[in-house]
Protein backbone atom coordinates (compact mmCIF):
# COMPACT_ATOMS: atom_id res chain seq x y z
CA UNK A 1 0.00 0.00 0.00
CA UNK A 2 1.48 3.38 -0.92
CA UNK A 3 1.05 6.81 0.64
CA UNK A 4 -1.30 8.05 -2.08
CA UNK A 5 -3.69 5.14 -1.65
CA UNK A 6 -3.74 5.60 2.11
CA UNK A 7 -4.33 9.32 1.62
CA UNK A 8 -7.29 8.71 -0.68
CA UNK A 9 -8.82 6.25 1.82
CA UNK A 10 -8.49 8.77 4.64
CA UNK A 11 -9.73 11.70 2.55
CA UNK A 12 -12.85 9.86 1.48
CA UNK A 13 -14.03 9.28 5.07
CA UNK A 14 -17.26 11.29 5.61
CA UNK A 15 -17.48 14.02 8.24
CA UNK A 16 -19.47 12.56 11.18
CA UNK A 17 -21.73 15.62 11.59
CA UNK A 18 -22.09 16.76 7.98
CA UNK A 19 -21.78 13.44 6.11
CA UNK A 20 -22.19 15.09 2.71
CA UNK A 21 -18.61 16.38 3.13
CA UNK A 22 -15.59 14.11 3.15
CA UNK A 23 -12.57 14.83 5.33
CA UNK A 24 -10.79 15.74 2.08
CA UNK A 25 -13.49 18.33 1.25
CA UNK A 26 -13.28 19.70 4.77
CA UNK A 27 -9.50 20.18 4.47
CA UNK A 28 -8.54 18.58 7.79
CA UNK A 29 -6.13 15.96 6.43
CA UNK A 30 -2.78 17.71 6.48
CA UNK A 31 -0.63 14.88 5.17
CA UNK A 32 0.17 11.18 5.15
CA UNK A 33 3.74 10.06 5.70
CA UNK A 34 5.37 6.66 5.71
CA UNK A 35 8.05 5.82 8.24
CA UNK A 36 9.45 2.32 8.79
CA UNK A 37 6.41 0.50 7.44
CA UNK A 38 4.10 2.69 9.45
CA UNK A 39 1.81 5.44 8.19
CA UNK A 40 1.47 8.71 10.06
CA UNK A 41 -1.76 10.58 9.36
CA UNK A 42 -1.72 14.31 10.20
CA UNK A 43 -5.15 15.66 11.12
CA UNK A 44 -6.05 19.19 12.19
CA UNK A 45 -9.12 19.98 14.32
CA UNK A 46 -11.84 22.30 13.01
CA UNK A 47 -13.20 23.96 16.18
CA UNK A 48 -11.08 23.42 19.33
CA UNK A 49 -13.82 21.86 21.38
CA UNK A 50 -15.70 20.10 18.59
CA UNK A 51 -16.72 16.63 19.77
CA UNK A 52 -16.52 15.43 16.15
CA UNK A 53 -12.71 15.59 16.37
CA UNK A 54 -12.53 12.40 18.41
CA UNK A 55 -15.11 10.67 16.21
CA UNK A 56 -13.11 11.68 13.11
CA UNK A 57 -10.06 9.86 14.49
CA UNK A 58 -12.14 6.78 15.24
CA UNK A 59 -13.59 6.79 11.72
CA UNK A 60 -10.14 7.16 10.15
CA UNK A 61 -8.97 4.15 12.17
CA UNK A 62 -11.97 2.11 11.08
CA UNK A 63 -11.51 2.97 7.40
CA UNK A 64 -7.81 2.04 7.52
CA UNK A 65 -8.41 -1.20 9.42
CA UNK A 66 -11.08 -2.29 6.97
CA UNK A 67 -8.55 -1.71 4.16
CA UNK A 68 -6.20 -4.04 6.08
CA UNK A 69 -3.83 -1.28 7.07
CA UNK A 70 -2.90 -1.92 10.66
CA UNK A 71 0.29 0.01 11.26
CA UNK A 72 -0.58 3.68 11.54
CA UNK A 73 -0.70 6.56 13.98
CA UNK A 74 -2.93 9.63 13.90
CA UNK A 75 -1.18 12.84 14.83
CA UNK A 76 -2.94 16.07 15.72
CA UNK A 77 -1.40 19.16 14.11
CA UNK A 78 -2.55 22.71 14.93
CA UNK A 79 -0.58 24.75 12.45
CA UNK A 80 -1.43 26.20 10.01
CA UNK A 81 -4.71 26.86 11.77
CA UNK A 82 -7.78 25.42 10.06
CA UNK A 83 -10.25 27.94 8.74
CA UNK A 84 -13.23 27.63 6.42
CA UNK A 85 -10.90 28.60 3.56
CA UNK A 86 -9.60 25.03 3.75
CA UNK A 87 -12.97 23.71 2.53
CA UNK A 88 -12.66 22.77 -1.14
CA UNK A 89 -14.79 24.39 -3.86
CA UNK A 90 -16.56 21.09 -4.48
CA UNK A 91 -17.15 20.84 -0.72
CA UNK A 92 -18.82 24.26 -0.72
CA UNK A 93 -21.05 23.22 -3.63
CA UNK A 94 -22.01 20.03 -1.78
CA UNK A 95 -22.91 22.04 1.33
CA UNK A 96 -25.17 24.35 -0.66
CA UNK A 97 -26.90 21.41 -2.32
CA UNK A 98 -27.37 19.76 1.09
CA UNK A 99 -29.17 22.88 2.36
CA UNK A 100 -26.32 24.47 4.35
CA UNK A 101 -25.22 27.89 3.12
CA UNK A 102 -21.44 27.72 2.58
CA UNK A 103 -19.07 30.18 4.31
CA UNK A 104 -19.08 33.60 2.69
CA UNK A 105 -15.72 35.24 3.51
CA UNK A 106 -15.61 38.97 4.05
CA UNK A 107 -19.35 39.22 4.68
CA UNK A 108 -21.38 39.07 7.89
CA UNK A 109 -23.56 36.21 6.69
CA UNK A 110 -24.45 33.85 3.86
CA UNK A 111 -24.63 35.01 0.25
CA UNK A 112 -28.10 33.59 -0.32
CA UNK A 113 -30.74 31.15 0.86
CA UNK A 114 -29.60 27.62 -0.08
CA UNK A 115 -33.19 26.68 -0.99
CA UNK A 116 -34.61 29.54 -3.11
CA UNK A 117 -31.35 31.53 -3.64
CA UNK A 118 -32.92 34.77 -2.40
CA UNK A 119 -30.33 37.23 -1.11
CA UNK A 120 -32.78 38.58 1.47
CA UNK A 121 -31.67 36.67 4.60
CA UNK A 122 -31.42 37.44 8.33
CA UNK A 123 -29.73 35.89 11.35
CA UNK A 124 -31.80 33.94 13.89
CA UNK A 125 -29.00 32.67 16.09
CA UNK A 126 -25.24 33.24 16.05
CA UNK A 127 -24.72 29.63 17.13
CA UNK A 128 -26.37 26.46 15.90
CA UNK A 129 -26.53 22.70 16.19
CA UNK A 130 -22.77 22.27 15.76
CA UNK A 131 -19.90 24.64 16.64
CA UNK A 132 -19.36 25.48 12.96
CA UNK A 133 -22.90 26.59 12.15
CA UNK A 134 -25.23 29.54 12.76
CA UNK A 135 -28.96 29.64 12.06
CA UNK A 136 -30.36 32.04 9.48
CA UNK A 137 -33.75 32.58 7.86
CA UNK A 138 -34.79 33.43 4.32
CA UNK A 139 -37.07 36.48 4.14
CA UNK A 140 -38.64 35.31 0.88
CA UNK A 141 -39.32 31.58 1.24
CA UNK A 142 -39.31 31.99 5.08
CA UNK A 143 -37.34 28.76 5.55
CA UNK A 144 -34.75 28.67 8.34
CA UNK A 145 -31.40 27.22 7.29
CA UNK A 146 -27.94 26.49 8.64
CA UNK A 147 -25.02 28.70 7.70
CA UNK A 148 -21.51 27.31 7.84
CA UNK A 149 -19.96 30.35 9.50
CA UNK A 150 -16.58 31.76 8.47
CA UNK A 151 -13.62 31.03 10.66
Amino acid sequence: MDVLTVKSIVESVPDPEIPVLTLGDLGVIRGVHERDDEFEIHVTPTYSGCPATRVINEMISEALLSAHIEKFTIKKVLSPVWSTQWISESGKAKLEEYGIAPPNPGAKGPKSCPQCKSISVSEISAFGSTPCQAIWRCQDCLEPFNYFKCL
Binding site: P45, S48, G49, C50, P51, S79, V81, F127
Partner: protein, 250 residues
Protein backbone atom coordinates in the same frame (compact mmCIF):
# COMPACT_ATOMS: atom_id res chain seq x y z
CA UNK B 1 11.14 27.69 40.27
CA UNK B 2 9.74 25.42 37.57
CA UNK B 3 9.52 26.47 33.92
CA UNK B 4 7.54 29.77 33.79
CA UNK B 5 5.81 28.55 30.61
CA UNK B 6 4.12 25.92 32.78
CA UNK B 7 2.50 28.68 34.84
CA UNK B 8 1.45 30.60 31.73
CA UNK B 9 -0.19 27.51 30.21
CA UNK B 10 -1.93 26.79 33.53
CA UNK B 11 -3.22 30.36 33.77
CA UNK B 12 -4.63 30.31 30.23
CA UNK B 13 -6.07 26.82 30.68
CA UNK B 14 -7.62 27.49 34.10
CA UNK B 15 -9.33 30.68 32.93
CA UNK B 16 -10.97 28.84 30.04
CA UNK B 17 -11.81 25.76 32.09
CA UNK B 18 -13.50 27.60 34.96
CA UNK B 19 -15.49 29.91 32.69
CA UNK B 20 -16.60 26.95 30.55
CA UNK B 21 -17.75 25.13 33.69
CA UNK B 22 -19.65 28.20 34.92
CA UNK B 23 -21.32 28.97 31.58
CA UNK B 24 -22.38 25.39 31.03
CA UNK B 25 -24.58 25.62 34.13
CA UNK B 26 -26.93 27.71 31.97
CA UNK B 27 -27.56 24.80 29.63
CA UNK B 28 -31.34 24.42 29.51
CA UNK B 29 -31.89 27.53 31.70
CA UNK B 30 -30.92 30.53 29.54
CA UNK B 31 -33.57 33.22 28.97
CA UNK B 32 -33.90 32.40 25.25
CA UNK B 33 -33.09 29.35 23.17
CA UNK B 34 -30.53 31.28 21.11
CA UNK B 35 -28.63 32.31 24.23
CA UNK B 36 -28.79 28.79 25.58
CA UNK B 37 -27.11 27.46 22.42
CA UNK B 38 -24.63 30.34 22.38
CA UNK B 39 -23.53 29.77 26.00
CA UNK B 40 -23.13 26.04 25.42
CA UNK B 41 -21.13 26.62 22.23
CA UNK B 42 -18.85 29.21 23.80
CA UNK B 43 -18.26 26.79 26.67
CA UNK B 44 -17.39 24.06 24.21
CA UNK B 45 -14.77 26.24 22.50
CA UNK B 46 -13.34 27.27 25.88
CA UNK B 47 -13.23 23.63 26.99
CA UNK B 48 -11.26 22.86 23.82
CA UNK B 49 -8.82 25.66 24.65
CA UNK B 50 -8.49 24.42 28.23
CA UNK B 51 -7.68 20.95 26.96
CA UNK B 52 -4.90 22.31 24.73
CA UNK B 53 -3.42 24.63 27.37
CA UNK B 54 -3.51 22.10 30.20
CA UNK B 55 -2.13 19.47 27.82
CA UNK B 56 0.75 21.82 27.08
CA UNK B 57 1.26 22.54 30.80
CA UNK B 58 1.47 18.79 31.46
CA UNK B 59 3.94 18.37 28.61
CA UNK B 60 6.17 21.21 29.86
CA UNK B 61 6.07 19.85 33.40
CA UNK B 62 7.06 16.35 32.18
CA UNK B 63 5.86 14.53 35.28
CA UNK B 64 3.25 12.17 33.83
CA UNK B 65 0.35 14.44 34.69
CA UNK B 66 -2.25 14.88 31.93
CA UNK B 67 -4.72 17.67 31.15
CA UNK B 68 -7.41 15.64 32.96
CA UNK B 69 -5.28 15.15 36.06
CA UNK B 70 -4.51 18.87 36.17
CA UNK B 71 -8.22 19.69 35.85
CA UNK B 72 -9.56 17.20 38.36
CA UNK B 73 -6.85 16.67 40.95
CA UNK B 74 -5.68 20.13 41.90
CA UNK B 75 -7.09 22.15 44.80
CA UNK B 76 -8.12 25.80 44.80
CA UNK B 77 -4.68 27.13 45.80
CA UNK B 78 -3.12 25.44 42.75
CA UNK B 79 -5.52 27.07 40.29
CA UNK B 80 -4.23 30.12 38.42
CA UNK B 81 -7.43 31.51 36.86
CA UNK B 82 -8.40 35.13 37.41
CA UNK B 83 -10.93 36.04 40.09
CA UNK B 84 -13.40 37.27 37.45
CA UNK B 85 -14.19 33.88 35.93
CA UNK B 86 -14.97 32.35 39.33
CA UNK B 87 -17.63 34.96 40.19
CA UNK B 88 -21.03 33.28 40.54
CA UNK B 89 -23.45 33.33 37.58
CA UNK B 90 -26.06 35.33 39.59
CA UNK B 91 -28.29 36.28 36.63
CA UNK B 92 -28.01 36.62 32.86
CA UNK B 93 -26.72 40.22 33.12
CA UNK B 94 -23.82 39.16 35.36
CA UNK B 95 -23.03 36.11 33.23
CA UNK B 96 -23.03 38.18 30.05
CA UNK B 97 -20.97 41.03 31.53
CA UNK B 98 -18.47 38.50 32.92
CA UNK B 99 -18.21 36.93 29.45
CA UNK B 100 -17.79 40.29 27.75
CA UNK B 101 -15.02 41.45 30.11
CA UNK B 102 -13.32 38.09 29.73
CA UNK B 103 -13.60 38.17 25.91
CA UNK B 104 -12.06 41.66 25.68
CA UNK B 105 -9.10 40.57 27.82
CA UNK B 106 -8.85 37.14 26.15
CA UNK B 107 -8.66 38.58 22.65
CA UNK B 108 -5.85 41.01 23.55
CA UNK B 109 -3.95 38.30 25.41
CA UNK B 110 -4.22 35.82 22.53
CA UNK B 111 -3.20 38.46 19.98
CA UNK B 112 0.02 38.92 21.92
CA UNK B 113 0.68 35.24 22.57
CA UNK B 114 0.05 34.29 18.94
CA UNK B 115 3.25 36.23 18.13
CA UNK B 116 5.18 34.39 20.84
CA UNK B 117 8.54 32.84 19.78
CA UNK B 118 7.57 29.63 21.59
CA UNK B 119 5.93 27.71 18.75
CA UNK B 120 3.63 25.59 20.95
CA UNK B 121 2.22 28.60 22.79
CA UNK B 122 1.85 30.52 19.51
CA UNK B 123 0.00 27.64 17.81
CA UNK B 124 -2.60 27.22 20.55
CA UNK B 125 -3.10 31.00 20.69
CA UNK B 126 -3.63 31.26 16.93
CA UNK B 127 -6.11 28.39 17.04
CA UNK B 128 -8.07 29.93 19.92
CA UNK B 129 -7.90 33.48 18.57
CA UNK B 130 -10.18 32.94 15.56
CA UNK B 131 -12.86 31.42 17.80
CA UNK B 132 -12.55 34.08 20.47
CA UNK B 133 -13.09 36.82 17.87
CA UNK B 134 -16.56 35.37 17.33
CA UNK B 135 -17.17 35.16 21.11
CA UNK B 136 -16.32 38.82 21.51
CA UNK B 137 -18.49 39.86 18.60
CA UNK B 138 -21.46 38.18 20.25
CA UNK B 139 -20.91 39.41 23.82
CA UNK B 140 -20.07 42.91 22.62
CA UNK B 141 -23.22 43.24 20.52
CA UNK B 142 -25.41 41.88 23.36
CA UNK B 143 -23.85 44.24 25.92
CA UNK B 144 -24.61 47.14 23.55
CA UNK B 145 -28.20 46.04 23.01
CA UNK B 146 -28.92 45.49 26.71
CA UNK B 147 -26.89 48.48 27.93
CA UNK B 148 -28.73 50.76 25.54
CA UNK B 149 -32.01 48.88 25.92
CA UNK B 150 -34.76 49.41 28.46
CA UNK B 151 -34.28 51.11 31.83
CA UNK B 152 -34.40 47.67 33.47
CA UNK B 153 -31.82 46.07 31.13
CA UNK B 154 -29.55 49.13 31.39
CA UNK B 155 -29.64 49.11 35.18
CA UNK B 156 -28.96 45.42 35.44
CA UNK B 157 -26.00 45.58 33.05
CA UNK B 158 -24.58 48.57 34.96
CA UNK B 159 -25.01 46.80 38.29
CA UNK B 160 -23.26 43.73 36.89
CA UNK B 161 -20.37 45.86 35.61
CA UNK B 162 -20.04 47.59 39.00
CA UNK B 163 -20.10 44.30 40.88
CA UNK B 164 -17.54 42.57 38.66
CA UNK B 165 -15.16 45.48 38.18
CA UNK B 166 -12.72 44.96 41.07
CA UNK B 167 -12.38 41.25 40.15
CA UNK B 168 -11.66 42.10 36.52
CA UNK B 169 -8.42 43.75 37.67
CA UNK B 170 -7.17 40.31 38.60
CA UNK B 171 -6.18 39.79 34.93
CA UNK B 172 -3.65 42.60 35.16
CA UNK B 173 -1.77 41.55 38.29
CA UNK B 174 1.97 41.05 37.68
CA UNK B 175 4.03 38.38 39.41
CA UNK B 176 7.59 36.98 39.48
CA UNK B 177 6.53 34.42 36.86
CA UNK B 178 5.59 37.28 34.53
CA UNK B 179 9.01 38.87 34.96
CA UNK B 180 10.61 35.59 33.91
CA UNK B 181 8.23 35.26 30.95
CA UNK B 182 9.00 38.84 30.00
CA UNK B 183 12.77 38.22 30.16
CA UNK B 184 12.34 35.18 27.91
CA UNK B 185 10.31 37.39 25.51
CA UNK B 186 7.42 34.92 25.75
CA UNK B 187 4.84 37.29 27.14
CA UNK B 188 4.47 40.90 28.19
CA UNK B 189 3.53 41.98 31.72
CA UNK B 190 -0.19 41.48 32.43
CA UNK B 191 -0.49 45.10 33.60
CA UNK B 192 0.69 46.32 30.18
CA UNK B 193 -2.48 44.89 28.60
CA UNK B 194 -4.73 47.12 30.69
CA UNK B 195 -4.52 50.35 28.61
CA UNK B 196 -5.48 48.45 25.44
CA UNK B 197 -8.33 46.64 27.15
CA UNK B 198 -9.58 49.87 28.73
CA UNK B 199 -9.56 51.60 25.35
CA UNK B 200 -11.84 48.90 23.93
CA UNK B 201 -14.14 49.04 26.97
CA UNK B 202 -14.40 52.81 26.73
CA UNK B 203 -15.38 52.64 23.07
CA UNK B 204 -18.04 49.99 23.69
CA UNK B 205 -19.37 51.61 26.85
CA UNK B 206 -19.85 54.90 25.06
CA UNK B 207 -22.17 53.14 22.60
CA UNK B 208 -23.92 51.03 25.21
CA UNK B 209 -24.47 54.05 27.55
CA UNK B 210 -22.84 52.10 30.40
CA UNK B 211 -20.35 53.79 32.70
CA UNK B 212 -17.02 52.22 33.57
CA UNK B 213 -16.47 52.44 37.35
CA UNK B 214 -13.81 54.98 38.28
CA UNK B 215 -12.29 52.90 41.04
CA UNK B 216 -9.08 51.08 40.23
CA UNK B 217 -9.08 49.09 43.42
CA UNK B 218 -8.31 45.58 42.21
CA UNK B 219 -8.88 42.32 44.03
CA UNK B 220 -5.54 40.53 43.93
CA UNK B 221 -3.91 37.23 44.77
CA UNK B 222 -5.07 34.86 42.03
CA UNK B 223 -1.55 34.66 40.57
CA UNK B 224 -0.41 33.18 43.90
CA UNK B 225 -3.43 30.89 44.13
CA UNK B 226 -5.46 33.03 46.55
CA UNK B 227 -9.03 32.68 45.37
CA UNK B 228 -12.53 33.66 46.42
CA UNK B 229 -14.73 31.19 48.26
CA UNK B 230 -16.80 30.37 45.19
CA UNK B 231 -13.95 28.56 43.42
CA UNK B 232 -14.19 25.85 46.08
CA UNK B 233 -17.84 25.19 45.21
CA UNK B 234 -17.07 25.18 41.48
CA UNK B 235 -14.29 22.63 41.93
CA UNK B 236 -16.36 20.51 44.30
CA UNK B 237 -18.98 20.07 41.61
CA UNK B 238 -16.56 19.75 38.71
CA UNK B 239 -14.16 17.34 40.39
CA UNK B 240 -16.61 15.25 42.40
CA UNK B 241 -16.81 12.27 40.06
CA UNK B 242 -13.06 11.91 39.48
CA UNK B 243 -12.29 12.40 43.15
CA UNK B 244 -14.84 9.80 44.21
CA UNK B 245 -14.02 7.30 41.49
CA UNK B 246 -10.43 8.15 40.49
CA UNK B 247 -9.58 7.57 36.82
CA UNK B 248 -13.07 6.44 35.93
CA UNK B 249 -13.79 6.78 32.20
CA UNK B 250 -16.92 7.46 30.16
Amino acid sequence: MSDPRFHLALRMGDNSLILAQQNSKWCGHAPTLEEDIALANVSLDLMGHAQMWLGLAAEIEGEDRTADILAFFRDTDEFRNSLLVERPNVDFATTLMRQYLFDVWHLEQLLLLSQCPDILIAEISQKALVEVEYHRQRSQSLVMKLGDGTVESHNRMQEALNALWSYFGSFFEDSIVDELLFDLKISSMPSSLYPRVLKQLNQDCLLSTLKIPESEFWQKGAVQGHHTENLGYILAEMQYLQRTYPNSKW
